[in-house]
Subunit: 152 residues, 2 copies
Amino acid sequence: MDFKLETFLPYRLNLAAELVSQRFAAQYRARYRMTRPEWRALAALGSYGRMTATEIGANSSMHKTKVSRAVRALEEKRWLKRSEDLDDRRIEHLELTPAGRRIYGEMVVLARDYERELAGLLGTGGLKQLEAGLAAIEAKLAAPARRRAPKD
Amino acid sequence: MDFKLETFLPYRLNLAAELVSQRFAAQYRARYRMTRPEWRALAALGSYGRMTATEIGANSSMHKTKVSRAVRALEEKRWLKRSEDLDDRRIEHLELTPAGRRIYGEMVVLARDYERELAGLLGTGGLKQLEAGLAAIEAKLAAPARRRAPKD
DNA sequence: AATGGACAGTTACATCTGCAACCACCTGAC
DNA sequence: GTCAGGTGGTTGCAGATGTAACTGTCCATT
Protein backbone atom coordinates (compact mmCIF):
# COMPACT_ATOMS: atom_id res chain seq x y z
CA MET A 1 0.00 0.00 0.00
CA ASP A 2 2.17 2.84 -1.05
CA PHE A 3 -0.45 4.82 -2.84
CA LYS A 4 0.24 8.51 -2.64
CA LEU A 5 -2.22 11.19 -3.60
CA GLU A 6 0.56 13.47 -4.78
CA THR A 7 1.49 11.08 -7.58
CA PHE A 8 -2.07 10.33 -8.62
CA LEU A 9 -2.69 11.77 -12.05
CA PRO A 10 -6.20 13.17 -11.50
CA TYR A 11 -4.98 14.96 -8.40
CA ARG A 12 -1.88 16.32 -10.06
CA LEU A 13 -3.84 17.57 -13.01
CA ASN A 14 -6.35 19.33 -10.83
CA LEU A 15 -3.61 20.90 -8.80
CA ALA A 16 -1.72 22.04 -11.87
CA ALA A 17 -4.87 23.44 -13.45
CA GLU A 18 -5.58 25.38 -10.31
CA LEU A 19 -2.04 26.70 -10.03
CA VAL A 20 -1.99 27.83 -13.63
CA SER A 21 -5.51 29.25 -13.70
CA GLN A 22 -5.37 31.06 -10.45
CA ARG A 23 -3.24 34.02 -11.33
CA PHE A 24 -4.94 34.62 -14.61
CA ALA A 25 -8.39 34.34 -13.07
CA ALA A 26 -7.35 36.84 -10.44
CA GLN A 27 -6.85 39.37 -13.21
CA TYR A 28 -10.24 39.20 -14.81
CA ARG A 29 -11.92 38.91 -11.46
CA ALA A 30 -10.22 42.00 -10.12
CA ARG A 31 -10.26 44.13 -13.25
CA TYR A 32 -13.61 43.30 -14.72
CA ARG A 33 -15.53 41.49 -12.01
CA MET A 34 -15.79 38.55 -14.37
CA THR A 35 -16.27 34.93 -13.41
CA ARG A 36 -14.64 32.09 -15.29
CA PRO A 37 -17.76 31.16 -17.25
CA GLU A 38 -18.10 34.79 -18.28
CA TRP A 39 -14.49 34.91 -19.42
CA ARG A 40 -14.94 31.76 -21.44
CA ALA A 41 -18.09 33.01 -23.11
CA LEU A 42 -16.45 36.34 -23.82
CA ALA A 43 -13.44 34.58 -25.30
CA ALA A 44 -15.59 32.32 -27.45
CA LEU A 45 -17.65 35.21 -28.79
CA GLY A 46 -14.61 37.41 -29.20
CA SER A 47 -12.76 34.92 -31.33
CA TYR A 48 -15.62 33.42 -33.29
CA GLY A 49 -18.07 36.28 -33.55
CA ARG A 50 -21.80 35.64 -33.43
CA MET A 51 -22.77 32.31 -31.88
CA THR A 52 -25.69 30.66 -30.15
CA ALA A 53 -25.57 29.69 -26.50
CA THR A 54 -25.30 26.03 -27.40
CA GLU A 55 -22.35 26.73 -29.64
CA ILE A 56 -20.62 28.64 -26.88
CA GLY A 57 -21.11 25.68 -24.61
CA ALA A 58 -19.65 23.29 -27.14
CA ASN A 59 -16.72 25.54 -27.84
CA SER A 60 -15.79 26.24 -24.26
CA SER A 61 -16.88 23.00 -22.59
CA MET A 62 -19.50 24.53 -20.38
CA HIS A 63 -22.78 23.17 -19.15
CA LYS A 64 -25.71 24.98 -20.66
CA THR A 65 -26.77 26.45 -17.34
CA LYS A 66 -23.33 27.97 -16.94
CA VAL A 67 -23.57 29.43 -20.40
CA SER A 68 -27.03 30.77 -19.71
CA ARG A 69 -25.89 32.52 -16.56
CA ALA A 70 -22.69 33.81 -18.09
CA VAL A 71 -24.59 35.22 -21.04
CA ARG A 72 -26.97 37.00 -18.76
CA ALA A 73 -24.11 38.47 -16.74
CA LEU A 74 -22.33 39.69 -19.86
CA GLU A 75 -25.56 41.16 -21.10
CA GLU A 76 -26.04 43.02 -17.85
CA LYS A 77 -22.54 44.42 -18.24
CA ARG A 78 -23.61 45.60 -21.70
CA TRP A 79 -20.83 43.58 -23.31
CA LEU A 80 -23.11 41.28 -25.24
CA LYS A 81 -26.34 41.59 -27.12
CA ARG A 82 -28.85 38.98 -28.13
CA SER A 83 -30.76 38.86 -31.38
CA GLU A 84 -33.43 36.51 -32.45
CA ASP A 85 -33.35 34.01 -35.24
CA LEU A 86 -36.17 34.53 -37.67
CA ASP A 87 -36.33 30.93 -38.79
CA ASP A 88 -36.10 29.24 -35.42
CA ARG A 89 -37.37 31.24 -32.53
CA ARG A 90 -35.85 28.97 -29.92
CA ILE A 91 -32.42 30.19 -30.89
CA GLU A 92 -30.75 33.40 -29.87
CA HIS A 93 -27.74 34.74 -31.66
CA LEU A 94 -25.22 36.29 -29.34
CA GLU A 95 -22.49 38.75 -30.11
CA LEU A 96 -20.29 41.22 -28.34
CA THR A 97 -21.11 44.89 -28.26
CA PRO A 98 -18.34 47.37 -29.06
CA ALA A 99 -17.70 47.64 -25.32
CA GLY A 100 -17.52 43.86 -25.13
CA ARG A 101 -15.05 43.73 -27.98
CA ARG A 102 -12.91 46.31 -26.26
CA ILE A 103 -12.78 44.24 -23.08
CA TYR A 104 -12.09 41.16 -25.15
CA GLY A 105 -9.18 42.91 -26.79
CA GLU A 106 -7.73 43.87 -23.44
CA MET A 107 -8.18 40.35 -22.14
CA VAL A 108 -6.40 38.90 -25.15
CA VAL A 109 -3.42 41.06 -24.34
CA LEU A 110 -3.44 39.84 -20.77
CA ALA A 111 -3.82 36.25 -21.93
CA ARG A 112 -0.87 36.55 -24.27
CA ASP A 113 1.25 38.16 -21.60
CA TYR A 114 0.41 35.34 -19.27
CA GLU A 115 1.20 32.71 -21.87
CA ARG A 116 4.60 34.29 -22.39
CA GLU A 117 5.19 34.32 -18.68
CA LEU A 118 4.25 30.67 -18.39
CA ALA A 119 6.46 29.77 -21.31
CA GLY A 120 9.34 31.50 -19.55
CA LEU A 121 8.68 29.72 -16.29
CA LEU A 122 8.20 26.27 -17.71
CA GLY A 123 10.88 26.49 -20.35
CA THR A 124 10.31 25.45 -23.92
CA GLY A 125 10.87 21.83 -23.04
CA GLY A 126 8.41 21.65 -20.17
CA LEU A 127 5.80 23.52 -22.14
CA LYS A 128 6.13 21.31 -25.20
CA GLN A 129 5.87 18.18 -23.11
CA LEU A 130 2.88 19.48 -21.27
CA GLU A 131 1.12 20.38 -24.48
CA ALA A 132 1.84 16.97 -25.94
CA GLY A 133 0.42 15.32 -22.85
CA LEU A 134 -2.66 17.50 -22.91
CA ALA A 135 -3.14 16.73 -26.57
CA ALA A 136 -3.09 13.03 -25.76
CA ILE A 137 -5.76 13.51 -23.12
CA GLU A 138 -7.90 15.61 -25.40
CA ALA A 139 -7.59 13.09 -28.18
CA LYS A 140 -8.39 10.05 -26.07
CA LEU A 141 -10.81 11.29 -23.48
CA ALA A 142 -12.69 14.18 -24.95
CA ALA A 143 -16.35 13.61 -25.61
CA PRO A 144 -16.37 12.83 -29.33
CA ALA A 145 -18.39 15.96 -30.13
CA ARG A 146 -21.28 13.66 -30.85
CA ARG A 147 -23.70 14.94 -33.39
CA ARG A 148 -26.22 12.27 -32.68
CA ALA A 149 -25.52 9.84 -29.89
CA PRO A 150 -28.12 7.40 -28.52
CA LYS A 151 -28.25 8.71 -25.01
CA ASP A 152 -24.80 8.33 -23.44
CA MET B 1 -6.60 38.69 -33.09
CA ASP B 2 -6.45 34.99 -33.49
CA PHE B 3 -6.65 34.11 -29.85
CA LYS B 4 -8.41 30.82 -29.34
CA LEU B 5 -9.63 29.57 -26.01
CA GLU B 6 -8.96 25.99 -27.00
CA THR B 7 -5.24 26.60 -27.22
CA PHE B 8 -5.02 28.63 -24.02
CA LEU B 9 -3.06 26.70 -21.45
CA PRO B 10 -5.18 27.44 -18.37
CA TYR B 11 -8.27 26.37 -20.27
CA ARG B 12 -6.68 23.24 -21.63
CA LEU B 13 -5.40 22.25 -18.23
CA ASN B 14 -8.79 22.71 -16.62
CA LEU B 15 -10.44 20.75 -19.33
CA ALA B 16 -7.93 17.93 -19.11
CA ALA B 17 -8.20 17.83 -15.33
CA GLU B 18 -11.94 17.59 -15.59
CA LEU B 19 -11.83 14.88 -18.24
CA VAL B 20 -9.40 12.81 -16.24
CA SER B 21 -11.03 13.33 -12.86
CA GLN B 22 -14.56 12.83 -13.92
CA ARG B 23 -14.69 9.11 -14.37
CA PHE B 24 -12.76 8.41 -11.23
CA ALA B 25 -14.88 10.81 -9.20
CA ALA B 26 -17.98 9.12 -10.52
CA GLN B 27 -16.79 5.93 -8.85
CA TYR B 28 -16.36 7.21 -5.34
CA ARG B 29 -19.45 9.34 -5.63
CA ALA B 30 -21.60 6.43 -6.70
CA ARG B 31 -20.08 3.71 -4.53
CA TYR B 32 -19.40 5.56 -1.34
CA ARG B 33 -21.28 8.82 -1.59
CA MET B 34 -17.98 10.59 -1.18
CA THR B 35 -17.12 14.08 -2.35
CA ARG B 36 -13.71 14.99 -3.69
CA PRO B 37 -12.52 16.63 -0.48
CA GLU B 38 -13.57 13.51 1.40
CA TRP B 39 -11.66 11.30 -1.01
CA ARG B 40 -8.57 13.44 -0.66
CA ALA B 41 -8.71 13.41 3.11
CA LEU B 42 -9.29 9.67 3.12
CA ALA B 43 -6.36 9.18 0.79
CA ALA B 44 -4.08 11.36 2.88
CA LEU B 45 -4.99 9.57 6.09
CA GLY B 46 -4.85 6.19 4.45
CA SER B 47 -1.37 6.63 3.16
CA TYR B 48 0.17 8.61 5.98
CA GLY B 49 -1.72 7.38 9.02
CA ARG B 50 -2.56 9.75 11.82
CA MET B 51 -2.48 13.43 10.88
CA THR B 52 -3.93 16.74 11.95
CA ALA B 53 -6.44 18.65 9.86
CA THR B 54 -3.81 21.21 8.93
CA GLU B 55 -1.46 18.49 7.75
CA ILE B 56 -4.19 16.99 5.61
CA GLY B 57 -4.75 20.36 4.03
CA ALA B 58 -1.05 20.79 3.28
CA ASN B 59 -0.76 17.31 1.88
CA SER B 60 -3.79 17.44 -0.34
CA SER B 61 -3.88 21.14 -1.22
CA MET B 62 -7.19 21.86 0.38
CA HIS B 63 -8.45 24.94 2.13
CA LYS B 64 -8.96 24.40 5.82
CA THR B 65 -12.71 24.78 5.58
CA LYS B 66 -12.81 22.02 3.01
CA VAL B 67 -10.76 19.84 5.28
CA SER B 68 -12.98 20.64 8.22
CA ARG B 69 -16.10 19.67 6.33
CA ALA B 70 -14.55 16.58 4.81
CA VAL B 71 -13.37 15.41 8.21
CA ARG B 72 -16.80 15.84 9.66
CA ALA B 73 -18.37 13.92 6.79
CA LEU B 74 -15.90 11.06 7.15
CA GLU B 75 -16.50 11.03 10.87
CA GLU B 76 -20.24 10.77 10.31
CA LYS B 77 -19.63 7.82 8.03
CA ARG B 78 -17.64 6.29 10.91
CA TRP B 79 -14.55 6.06 8.75
CA LEU B 80 -12.48 8.43 10.82
CA LYS B 81 -11.98 9.14 14.46
CA ARG B 82 -10.59 12.14 16.22
CA SER B 83 -8.42 12.12 19.27
CA GLU B 84 -7.13 14.98 21.26
CA ASP B 85 -3.58 16.08 21.73
CA LEU B 86 -2.67 16.22 25.38
CA ASP B 87 0.01 18.84 24.92
CA ASP B 88 -1.83 21.19 22.59
CA ARG B 89 -5.54 21.18 22.88
CA ARG B 90 -6.07 23.16 19.69
CA ILE B 91 -4.96 20.16 17.67
CA GLU B 92 -6.91 17.08 16.83
CA HIS B 93 -5.27 13.92 15.63
CA LEU B 94 -7.24 12.19 12.94
CA GLU B 95 -7.05 8.61 11.83
CA LEU B 96 -9.08 6.10 9.93
CA THR B 97 -11.20 3.55 11.71
CA PRO B 98 -10.96 -0.09 10.56
CA ALA B 99 -13.99 0.58 8.36
CA GLY B 100 -12.23 3.63 6.95
CA ARG B 101 -9.12 1.65 6.21
CA ARG B 102 -11.19 -0.95 4.41
CA ILE B 103 -12.75 1.70 2.18
CA TYR B 104 -9.34 3.22 1.62
CA GLY B 105 -8.02 -0.15 0.53
CA GLU B 106 -10.83 -0.56 -1.94
CA MET B 107 -10.31 2.95 -3.26
CA VAL B 108 -6.61 2.30 -3.76
CA VAL B 109 -7.50 -0.66 -5.94
CA LEU B 110 -9.83 1.49 -7.98
CA ALA B 111 -7.22 4.22 -8.24
CA ARG B 112 -4.60 1.79 -9.49
CA ASP B 113 -7.00 0.30 -11.99
CA TYR B 114 -7.76 3.74 -13.25
CA GLU B 115 -4.11 4.67 -13.51
CA ARG B 116 -3.49 1.58 -15.58
CA GLU B 117 -6.41 2.44 -17.80
CA LEU B 118 -5.11 5.97 -18.28
CA ALA B 119 -1.64 4.69 -19.03
CA GLY B 120 -3.13 2.45 -21.69
CA LEU B 121 -5.14 5.25 -23.22
CA LEU B 122 -2.41 7.84 -23.23
CA GLY B 123 0.40 5.52 -24.17
CA THR B 124 3.71 5.52 -22.37
CA GLY B 125 4.90 8.47 -24.39
CA GLY B 126 1.94 10.70 -23.73
CA LEU B 127 1.92 9.83 -20.06
CA LYS B 128 5.62 10.52 -19.60
CA GLN B 129 5.34 13.84 -21.34
CA LEU B 130 2.35 14.82 -19.32
CA GLU B 131 4.09 13.95 -16.09
CA ALA B 132 7.15 15.90 -17.07
CA GLY B 133 5.01 18.92 -17.85
CA LEU B 134 3.14 18.62 -14.59
CA ALA B 135 6.40 18.32 -12.72
CA ALA B 136 7.54 21.57 -14.30
CA ILE B 137 4.38 23.32 -13.18
CA GLU B 138 4.62 21.93 -9.69
CA ALA B 139 8.25 22.97 -9.44
CA LYS B 140 7.75 26.49 -10.73
CA LEU B 141 4.32 27.48 -9.56
CA ALA B 142 3.58 25.58 -6.38
CA ALA B 143 3.32 27.68 -3.26
CA PRO B 144 6.75 27.21 -1.66
CA ALA B 145 5.28 25.49 1.41
CA ARG B 146 6.15 28.60 3.36
CA ARG B 147 6.96 27.99 6.96
CA ARG B 148 6.93 31.62 7.84
CA ALA B 149 5.94 34.10 5.21
CA PRO B 150 5.18 37.76 5.91
CA LYS B 151 1.59 37.76 4.77
CA ASP B 152 1.47 36.80 1.12
C1' DA C 1 0.04 36.41 36.32
C1' DA C 2 -1.47 39.09 32.60
C1' DT C 3 -1.70 40.34 27.92
C1' DG C 4 -1.20 40.44 22.90
C1' DG C 5 -0.36 38.04 19.03
C1' DA C 6 -0.48 33.69 16.46
C1' DC C 7 -2.52 29.32 15.36
C1' DA C 8 -6.12 25.03 14.92
C1' DG C 9 -10.33 24.40 13.67
C1' DT C 10 -15.46 25.75 12.98
C1' DT C 11 -19.21 28.34 11.16
C1' DA C 12 -22.34 32.11 8.92
C1' DC C 13 -23.03 33.98 4.73
C1' DA C 14 -23.03 34.89 0.03
C1' DT C 15 -21.99 32.83 -4.27
C1' DC C 16 -21.52 29.22 -7.63
C1' DT C 17 -22.72 24.83 -9.45
C1' DG C 18 -25.27 20.75 -11.55
C1' DC C 19 -29.42 18.35 -11.94
C1' DA C 20 -33.98 18.05 -13.05
C1' DA C 21 -37.93 20.11 -14.29
C1' DC C 22 -39.75 23.40 -17.13
C1' DC C 23 -41.41 26.49 -21.26
C1' DA C 24 -41.47 27.61 -25.91
C1' DC C 25 -40.72 26.07 -30.18
C1' DC C 26 -39.54 22.96 -34.10
C1' DT C 27 -39.98 18.67 -36.91
C1' DG C 28 -41.51 14.41 -38.70
C1' DA C 29 -45.08 10.83 -38.85
C1' DC C 30 -49.56 10.13 -39.44
C1' DG D 1 -53.65 19.66 -39.15
C1' DT D 2 -52.20 17.29 -35.04
C1' DC D 3 -49.49 15.01 -31.95
C1' DA D 4 -45.13 12.95 -30.00
C1' DG D 5 -40.72 13.62 -29.29
C1' DG D 6 -36.64 16.43 -29.58
C1' DT D 7 -34.11 20.82 -28.97
C1' DG D 8 -32.66 25.78 -27.20
C1' DG D 9 -32.63 28.04 -23.28
C1' DT D 10 -34.11 29.27 -18.28
C1' DT D 11 -34.93 28.45 -13.48
C1' DG D 12 -35.80 26.18 -8.66
C1' DC D 13 -33.44 23.74 -5.60
C1' DA D 14 -30.09 21.48 -3.00
C1' DG D 15 -25.29 20.91 -2.33
C1' DA D 16 -20.47 22.72 -2.50
C1' DT D 17 -17.31 26.54 -2.06
C1' DG D 18 -14.35 30.62 -0.30
C1' DT D 19 -14.13 34.61 2.70
C1' DA D 20 -14.23 36.47 6.84
C1' DA D 21 -15.30 36.33 11.32
C1' DC D 22 -15.29 33.62 15.40
C1' DT D 23 -13.80 30.38 19.54
C1' DG D 24 -10.54 28.32 22.12
C1' DT D 25 -5.80 27.56 22.99
C1' DC D 26 -0.84 28.36 23.12
C1' DC D 27 3.28 31.12 23.90
C1' DA D 28 6.42 35.10 24.38
C1' DT D 29 6.87 39.15 26.72
C1' DT D 30 6.25 41.77 30.42
